[in-house]
């Protein structure tokens, strides 16, 4: 078992990075790895509620975020500064996340075994 951190730094929908990140996250968890998700920079836009990607030919992969507890993915972090930059207050988020400052994110990146950036 390894501690695998998946870091979302790209916005949803414009590229498939977020979707391929989430696919990997769920698969890692189903292979019983200790998975954590970190949303930073434009990646925090994954957390915004009421998105409708079907309108632009996308798939509603963000619905899978709600299933994270079923996969035992409990470490879901978002960067405080990035949330502020994009004006995302708690009430606008689709799932509960732990908000971390830069130092806490650095400490998390240090603590895990591998980090995959999408």
């Amino acid at each position: 078992m390894k501690k695998i951190c998946i870091l979302f730094r790209s916005a949803p929908h414009g590229t498939t990075k977020g979707r391929e990140a989430l696919d990997f996250a769920l698969l890692s968890a189903s292979f019983e790895q200790e998975v954590s998700l970190v949303f930073v920079d434009e990646g925090v836009l994954h957390l915004l509620k009421d998105q409708q990607p079907e309108l632009i030919g996308g798939k509603d992969y963000l619905a899978a975020l709600k299933a994270l507890p079923l996969y035992d993915i409990e470490s879901v972090f978002a960067c405080k500064q990035s949330l502020g930059d994009y004006g995302l207050s708690h009430g606008l988020l689709s799932i509960p996340v732990t908000i971390l400052n830069d130092e806490a994110i650095s400490a998390h990146l240090k603590a895990v075994d591998e980090v995959l950036v999408f």
């Binding site: 730094r9 930073v40 920079d41 500064q81 650095s106 990146l109 240090k110 075994d113 591998e114 980090v115």
Partner: protein, 93 residues
């Protein structure tokens, strides 16, 4: 200790900016591909200055930047391999 690996130019991509936001003082930063161009811009050269910075030698030579980047540690691929093992992990941003 983390080896942060940046392979894109800071003019096109936020990779370097984010890496610098979360890097710790003891971490090292390896610039490869267009990532090496960051050192040509004063703003990024200054931001990188507190860190141990390395550039991938062939990416520097290929871009005609050997002389411009002569004060930066230039490493070959076998040194890249060694550095990846000397650090606890490699994060490619």
């Amino acid at each position: 200790m983390i080896l942060h690996h940046i392979q894109t130019s800071p003019s096109r991509d936020n990779a370097l900016k984010l890496c610098l936001r979360y890097a710790c003082k003891e971490d090292a930063i390896l610039l490869s591909s267009d990532g090496v161009n960051a050192l040509l811009l004063r703003q990024w050269a200054m931001a990188l200055s507190p860190f141990k910075v390395m550039v991938l030698k062939d990416d520097v030579i290929a871009r005609g930047l050997t002389e411009r980047l002569k004060n930066i540690s230039q490493i070959d691929y076998s040194e890249f391999v060694a550095q990846s093992l000397q650090h606890d992990k490699v994060i490619t941003w």
